[in-house]
Symmetry: C2
Subunit: 310 residues, 2 copies
């Protein structure tokens, strides 16, 4: 059980052109873990309040690959809540409210049984917290962090300290520009490589992603979905598919280096496919019914969509 | 010499964050032909005024694969002129002026020697003109039209008549939405297939393209360019690389059907690569120095960027 994710459990209220979902299960840790669980065992590190409904705990338990030892239900605290509204084009959203709850308190403790984790994903959080959490995993062979504009603006020094410690950074194009002052996506990502990481995953939502790696460049479209119900968690399920695949491949074959360009590019293909299922429903509705066979089938389909060579 | 393109010769004035170019050679027919000429012989059908500078004619002549029999220099007329300005992000532009000139007169005549053309690209124009031009090529095995929002709004009936006659349509995402009322790119393109064509190429600029074909779906990123000097002509050079490849492949092997999904998807890969060179300079500066070996090298690189399968 080598993969661990640190992040949030959320209670989300989402609305948009495709409908409305109230107080459903969300959060970066949730989406990541659900996605990764199709590839490998995944260890959660997250805190929730005692207001987390039983049905949400039961939903998490339905994913057999998720280890919830590190899911702390904190008595007297409130679970993080987020409300958002998607615009007509489904690629832009507005945050209607955030209630930080337990996120304003101390980070969740990392169980001792997790100390041997080899693959670490630090979902979006204050970089100082990410740094502290990362220090709990001394055997990390691959550590990847997500971040956001807020930390680039308010905790830039700590973010730069984090970048010296992780192998990879995931962020979107606008954030990369903000962090580096460079408008060109490739130039911005190359600049980030100089800050420490071996690779940068530039997330472009419905437009796919770029991999800027010291060994080379990758570029993938998103899976062209006709059924987009709720993009919430797309980035985290993408990361979950990616990290789950890498952990699974590296465990299967000890000769595979989890930071190699080829491995990560293939992993991004898996992340793309898993995320494409996630957005087909609100919350984890589609993921909880997903099978490995369905992932494999769509992965083959996706591969065929990219076949430019004879 | 089976490939023909109908379009414009332009004198462009372009400015943006990367510089300024005044009265340089442009036009859809020019960019298309230059790109296609790396793959096959390409026949131009276009008109220019007698104000077209000698250096611009000489530039066209430098591309050995271009047949200019159908390039009419019209005495007493003015060449189409366009002025545009690119915004900071290089993916949006503003038209500063258009001087239609010869485009307000009768379309150029199609030389008799072109009547046997098998591969036809109708660059953006009024759909009634495109229909008339298409009728001059009774042996067309593959006819593809480009269009724009103006014709969707002002010549919708003629555009729909055109769609019944062509095998493929190229347009951008917003235009597909405008034509069909559907926001989802795949759904919009599928709707267009019901109007007649066998495939739709959805152009997304720096985000690549989608191929929605009766036989399946393709999705490609753009080549991740670090050197973007001038995106003018990107769509036309993309189409030129695509059509040039298809014409070349189909002539090489009579068993290849030029409207097959696999052929067109591979062709879009070539279009992507040729267009990525085009945007590295103003006008045809990069294209005129381009070699087939450079295209082949970047095509291999691009293939490697998409390699999600082990």
């Amino acid at each position: 059980m080598p993969l661990v994710v640190t992040g949030t459990i959320g209670i989300d209220t989402v609305s948009g052109p495709t409908g409305h979902a109230e107080n459903v299960l969300g959060g970066s840790c949730t989406y990541f873990s659900a996605a990764a669980s199709f590839y490998t065992q995944v260890r959660m590190v997250a805190a929730a309040g005692d207001d987390l409904p039983d049905e949400h705990r039961e939903m998490i338990a339905k994913f057999e690959g998720i280890d919830t030892t590190g899911l702390e239900i904190r008595e007297g605290s409130r679970t993080f809540r987020w409300g958002g509204k998607y615009m007509e084009n489904m690629d832009q959203r507005e945050t209607l409210f955030t209630d930080l709850g337990v996120l304003e308190e101390a980070p969740p403790p990392v169980p001792e049984s997790y100390a041997d984790s080899k693959y670490v994903f630090l979902a979006n959080n204050h970089p100082a917290v990410q740094l502290d959490l990362l220090s709990k995993f001394p055997n990390a062979a691959l550590a990847v962090a997500d971040t956001m504009d807020l930390w680039i603006n308010t905790a830039n020094d700590q973010l730069r300290a984090l970048l010296k410690k992780v192998h990879g950074l995931a962020l979107n194009h606008e954030e990369a520009e903000q962090l580096t002052g460079k408008r060109n996506a490739v130039a911005a990502a190359r600049h980030i490589l100089e800050m420490g990481p071996q690779f940068v995953v530039l997330k472009k939502g419905e437009h796919g992603c770029l991999l800027i790696h010291r060994e080379g460049i990758g570029a993938l479209p998103a899976y062209p979905s006709e059924t987009v119900i709720d993009p919430t968690g797309a980035g985290d399920s993408f990361a979950g598919g990616m990290m789950g695949f890498i952990a699974s491949e590296s465990e299967r074959d000890a000769n595979i280096n989890p930071t190699d360009f080829d491995v990560i590019l293939r992993a991004l293909g898996h992340g793309t496919v898993v995320a494409s299922f996630n957005i087909e429903s609100f919350s984890l509705g589609r993921m909880v019914e997903l099978t490995r066979a369905q992932i494999a089938e769509r992965f083959d389909e996706f591969t065929g969509m990219l076949r430019v060579h004879g």
